[in-house]
């Protein structure tokens, strides 16, 4: 009974430590302002061309209004494409895997081994801070964009759906993080991971539903893609928002997502431990 307050104190200390790390990361982020502004701007561009492409597709299909492709009307398709950007805002982890692989390759892991911090929580709080900064910074331009495109949206979803949506975004952040972290850990076994990661990135573009909603594919393929964790990076939250997930299935779908998040977290830390053993065998 006496132990608990001491442990709580230690836990708070840990949280405080990672909080401080998060704040330092925020400062770092602001320092690279130009790079930041540029990358924000560049994120809007592919959205534009994709929307234009789909306008052309729907026009060509001769069903400009009310027509459905894979259960998505033109308006729903556009709103889907806009929403996946929000999902990706939460789940994309640029440079995470590369950074880990580079640290491994250059032997920088010592800083994690010698200091009383663990690599995954450290990187997680770092990323969380970056994300918070990024989302804050891009909130206004995105809000503006969505306001301009409000005609494409059928209005706000109901409160429980909205809550589910927000939860799916947060879980999507965790899934994105641990997925990338696990990939980065491959650096323990492969010397040259960066080009592999690059192509993984383009694969994710398809597998996450960022490219187009799975429902446009033949049913068999759609099922397979909905069984993979990649869908949580883009498709799943957007589908929730657009009421494509029936209300009764919402809870179980979210639980599946949570299970995936946990599984990937375990995978990443397991890979890290295995890799470390191998790494220290080389005398790093």
């Amino acid at each position: 009974m006496l132990r608990r307050p001491a442990r709580l104190g230690a836990l708070l200390g840990e949280v405080g430590k990672y909080g401080r790390i998060a704040r330092i990361a925020l400062v770092e982020r602001l320092a690279y302002r130009l790079d930041f502004i540029l990358s924000t701007l560049l994120r809007f561009l592919p959205m534009l061309t994709t929307i234009l492409l789909w306008l052309a597709v729907y026009a060509g299909a001769g069903q400009l209004s009310g027509g459905q492709l894979g259960g998505f009307s033109l308006k729903e398709m556009i709103s889907y494409l806009l929403l996946v950007h929000i999902s990706r805002m939460f789940s994309s982890m640029p440079g995470l895997a590369q950074g880990i692989a580079r640290d491994i390759r250059e032997g920088n892991l010592k800083k994690y081994l010698l200091q009383p911090i663990s690599i995954l929580p450290y990187l997680l709080s770092y990323r969380a801070a970056h994300k918070a900064a990024y989302i804050t910074m891009t909130a206004v331009p995105y809000a503006l964009l969505f306001f301009l495109c409000r005609d494409f949206f059928a209005g706000w979803p109901s409160a429980p759906v909205l809550a589910a949506y927000l939860l799916s975004l947060l879980l999507g952040f965790l899934i994105g993080f641990f997925l990338e972290a696990a990939l980065g850990m491959l650096g323990f076994w492969f010397l040259e991971v960066s080009s592999f990661l690059y192509v993984m990135g383009t694969l994710t573009f398809f597998l996450s539903g960022h490219m187009f909603p799975f429902d446009l594919l033949p049913a068999v393929f759609a099922q397979v893609l909905k069984a993979l964790p990649f869908q949580y990076l883009a498709y799943f939250p957007a589908a929730i928002f657009l009421d494509k997930v029936p209300q009764e299935a919402l809870l179980s779908a979210l639980m599946t997502e949570a299970v995936w998040a946990l599984a990937l977290a375990l995978l990443a830390s397991w890979l890290y431990r295995c890799g470390l053993r191998r790494y220290s065998a080389y005398g790093g």
Partner: protein, 347 residues
Amino acid sequence: MTATALANAAGPIIEVHGLTKIYRVYQKQEGLLGAVRGLFRRRYREVRAVDGVSFRIEPGEIVGFLGPNGAGKTTTLKMLSGLIYPTAGSARVLGFVPWERANAFRRQLALVMGQKNQLWWDLPAADSFALHRAIYSLPAEQFQRTLGELTELFGVGHLLRQPVRELSLGERMKMELIAALLHQPRLLLLDEPTIGLDVVAQVTIRRCLREYNRRRSVTILLTSHYMKDVEALCARVLVITQGQLVYDGPLAGITEQFSQAKLVKLQLAEEADPEPFRRYGEVVHADGPLIELRVARQRLAEVLAAILDQHRVLDLNVQDPPLEQVIARVFEEARPVHEVDSQLTTV
């Protein structure tokens, strides 16, 4: 005329006047608020990395650049190789202006930086050399001959086919040096070449450099903060601190010019209290019968007389303080020298 004299007749291989490099360093402001402020207004200060340095180097010399970290040695070296634009001043290296980076200039030059790798990491050194040959367009026969000579000199023939990443630090450095010398440059610039190496590797590399200089009269300019490098290789030393040249001349001259003290090592007949010795000078070390004093040069004679008079001395030794100490003190009290009293010693 001897070969050396002929080479000298062509003029100095490096001529530097008032070379200056000033950097703007942006001040990062502390904390979150400071970072936000930093978005709108940036504060900076100027750093004079190299400040009005002038010197001449004749062909065939081995000259050492001595100075503490951040003194401007590496920056000077990089300006001489054309990598950095100076802020002011002029330089002529091998008859060229270095920062114009003419191909003909780069063909005669080599720069090797300690702890930096220019060889391909995953391939055997031999492949990097072959690539070098293609880059410098070296004729096959000449290349083979030079390669053979260098691998024999450095003693690494058996390591040529091993991937560079599997070599030890010392072996890698030797390979870097070979790569630098393959195109037979007239000038070799070395930046901290022995840093991080074990003692054996350091000794070997110094020996090889000395030998190569003897054979080919390649001019060598090396920076180091290891005294041993400089002592082993350099007849002439340039001391730089805080961007300014404070000494240019033979190594031995440093002690004479900068050291105002001598070290007196005493072995007394019995254990003595170091206290009374304090009036002679600084007690550097006191261990039973052994006492080490730092005595001002002018007082040396009287101090010795006094000690011998008042104590029973078994053994007495008068030395110059070790060069490191002298240099360290020089670095501490940076005194710019405008009239460079250069005694150019040709090798």
